[in-house]
């Protein structure tokens, strides 16, 4: 029994937090400000505990697995959630249902934890739903905005459709192999056409959650309509967690079918990068812009994932860590501007530098990192992905990926240019930033700079993978 508490410590802790919040909410009488402070400190504790008492093992007849790498992945997600709680303080304090928002976010996080640890298709499916359904509700949290409910509708319907396809795939896998356990599966995968069909069905559920083209169409609409806190949760935490389990599934469970999935990933990675870039070029709304840029980033993650090696695992985990910092910083700046001025258009960002030096620099740093310009960590992240992908010797693929990296420069630089160089008669006025937001932006910027320079971070990830 003791082992259960150690192996499932993150899950139990998050569940505990969830119920604590529930009781606080029922008890009432706490102001948003103090409640937010409590939540932030609890999330920090949650993040820190992720680094202690890590042990390898499994529970419930292999339904639940954990090891050092999985614990690290959970820590990255916890860090992201902690940063979100800091970044959007302004919006949280105004929100009527802050406690509920965090409850939903924590249950989604719990779902992601179970998903990363899952050792069986059933628990995987349940936790995937658990990481989706509360998020759909979170999308609807700008209750007095029409686009918010439209986005929530699109999200819940698309994801329900996608789970339908996923379930059909799982049922076929079950029919062909007779097992739903990840551990038993590689031995019984036969690579028959029906199995490939089932695999494609299964694959598209991951593709849907990761916004791989052509399963990405919901992404931009939902990102635009959702509140910033939800958007950043979706684009960072949700994507990260699915990328982790996707990689684990491909490498461990579908290892015997690697020829099939390598080609599939290569094809979709190319399509995804190109489409993401093309759409990002023409966006005016900052959220849509970041949505498409994150689609292009996912194309890159697939490059590293295609390598099917420990180096691939390490590069993907490292990239997601860097991506967490960069994307959250970008969303944080955009949210700070939007919450005080209501401006979400890139044209409105012209001349931002005149009145908001700090925000401009953080945004520039984040965008440079997303564009993969050295010496930011984003450069190293992309570099490791490419190096890992190149180990397969498919240089055509790598060249296309690298070319896309350059195309992406166009639109990232476009925003940076708007911020620093373009003239604007009515630039965004001086924005007062909440202390906690500032703290989170500083953490993100530091992360962007230091994660590239401190080689031990990558070494640590590599040692685990």
């Amino acid at each position: 029994m003791n082992e259960l508490f150690i192996l499932m410590k993150s899950e139990l802790l998050v569940t505990g937090l969830l119920f604590l919040l529930l009781f606080i909410k029922i008890g009432k009488g706490i102001k948003n400000e103090s409640l937010l402070l409590i939540i932030q400190s609890l999330l920090l504790v949650n993040f820190i505990i992720g680094f202690f008492f890590n042990k390898e093992g499994n529970l419930f007849d292999g339904m639940f697995n954990t090891n050092g790498l999985i614990a690290l992945q959970k820590s990255i997600l916890s860090l992201g959630v902690y940063l979100i709680s800091l970044l959007f303080a302004d919006w949280f304090k105004k929100s009527e249902h802050m406690a509920e928002f965090f409850m939903l976010m924590l249950s989604a996080l719990l779902g992601m934890f179970f998903m990363i640890s899952s050792g069986n298709l059933l628990i995987f499916f349940l936790s995937l739903e658990m990481a989706t359904i509360p998020v759909a509700a979170m999308v609807n949290f700008d209750l007095d905005k029409k686009i918010s409910s439209e986005a929530a509708m699109k999200m819940i319907l698309s994801s329900a459709f996608s789970s339908g396809i996923l379930l059909f795939g799982i049922s076929l896998v079950y029919g062909v192999t007779g097992t739903i356990s990840f551990a038993a599966m590689p031995a019984v995968l036969d690579g028959s056409p029906l199995m490939i069909l089932a695999f494609v069905f299964l694959f598209t559920a991951f593709a849907f959650k990761l916004s791989i083209v052509p399963f990405h169409l919901w992404t931009a609409d939902v990102y635009e309509g959702a509140p910033f806190a939800t958007t950043s949760f979706l684009s960072v935490i949700s994507k990260g967690s699915v990328a982790f389990i996707f990689m684990a599934t491909l490498y461990k469970v579908f290892q015997p079918m690697q020829d099939v999935w390598y080609n599939m990933i290569m094809l979709l990675s190319i399509v995804t990068m190109i489409t993401g870039n093309l759409f990002a070029l023409r966006q005016q709304n900052i959220k849509r812009f970041l949505a498409f840029s994150s689609i292009a980033q996912v194309g890159f993650i697939l490059v590293g994932m295609s390598s099917n090696s420990p180096a691939g695992t390490a590069s993907v985990v490292y990239f997601i860590l860097v991506y967490t910092f960069s994307n959250l910083a970008a969303f944080g700046v955009a949210a700070a501007i939007a919450s005080q001025t209501g401006k979400e258009k890139i044209d409105d960002y012209k001349g931002l530098y005149q009145n908001n030096r700090f925000l401009s620099w953080v945004l520039a740093l984040a965008l440079f990192s997303l564009a993969g310009i050295p010496p930011t960590a984003g450069f190293f992240g992309k570099l490791f992905l490419i190096t890992a992908g190149a180990s397969k010797g498919n240089y055509m693929f790598i060249t296309i990926a690298a070319l896309n990296m350059i195309i992406s420069l166009f639109y990232y630089l476009k925003v940076v240019r708007a911020v620093f160089m373009d003239k604007n008669d009515f630039p965004v006025e001086k924005i007062t930033i909440q202390f906690s937001t500032k703290l989170a932006l500083i953490i993100c910027s530091t992360g962007i700079v230091l994660a590239g320079i401190f080689s031990w971070i990558y070494d640590y990830i590599q040692a685990l993978s």
């Binding site: 569940t15 969830l18 529970l59 419930f60 007849d61 339904m63 639940f64 009527e96 249902h97 509920e100 409850m103 939903l104 249950s107 989604a108 719990l110 779902g111 179970f114 059933l122 628990i123 349940l126 936790s127 739903e129 658990m130 359904i133 509360p134 759909a136 509700a137 979170m138 609807n140 949290f141 209750l143 007095d144 905005k145 029409k146 929530a152 029919g175 062909v176 192999t177 007779g178 028959s192 056409p193 029906l194 069909l197």
Partner: protein, 172 residues
């Protein structure tokens, strides 16, 4: 042809025809009722396979829960007697084509596949067996998913309450 076979084909026909009606009728109430019939038909198929427990769950949760929920939401959002809007013809044809292609592909693969089969002794799907496994933590136990689902339902509940409980009027 044995009686069991006849029952099977009747159930199958009943289910599929109701399903087709449920997605094609332009009266929303009729659609809901046909959905109900489909669900009952599926429950009938479970009975036919002698999976009584799942058939019962199907009837209780689906027929008693989800369909009622759907009918309630129809009450809340629809003026009675109004016909559902028609979809564009192009979309209808294209959708039918896509669905048919998918169906053909799957059936082709399924019929070409020779499924493996277990040789071990079967476990009877009795309520006792199901109950023991549902809360078991050892091999073949499903305690963990059970707990996960319970938290998921809690989260769904919270989400529903917040969204449905809106106080301020919509601004834009």
């Amino acid at each position: 042809m044995s009686g069991s076979t006849i029952i099977f084909f009747m159930l199958a026909a009943f289910t599929l025809i109701s399903a087709v009606m449920a997605v094609s009728t332009r009266h929303i109430f009729r659609a809901a009722i046909f959905l109900l019939f489909t669900l009952i038909g599926v429950a009938g198929l479970y009975f036919w396979m002698q999976y009584d427990f799942i058939a019962a769950v199907q009837i209780i949760v689906y027929v008693g829960g989800i369909t009622v929920l759907i009918i309630f939401s129809i009450f809340l959002t629809q003026q009675a007697g109004e016909l559902l809007p028609k979809q564009k013809m192009g979309r209808q044809i294209f959708s039918a084509l896509a669905a048919f292609c998918g169906f053909a592909l799957i059936m082709l693969q399924v019929y070409q596949h020779s499924f493996n089969q277990t040789t071990a002794t079967a476990i009877e799907p009795t309520v006792a067996n199901i109950g023991n496994r549902m809360l078991g933590v050892n091999e073949g136990g499903y305690a963990l998913p059970f707990e996960v689902v319970s938290i998921l339902l809690l989260a769904a509940l919270i989400g529903c309450i917040v969204i449905a409980m809106r106080s301020k009027p919509v601004t834009s």
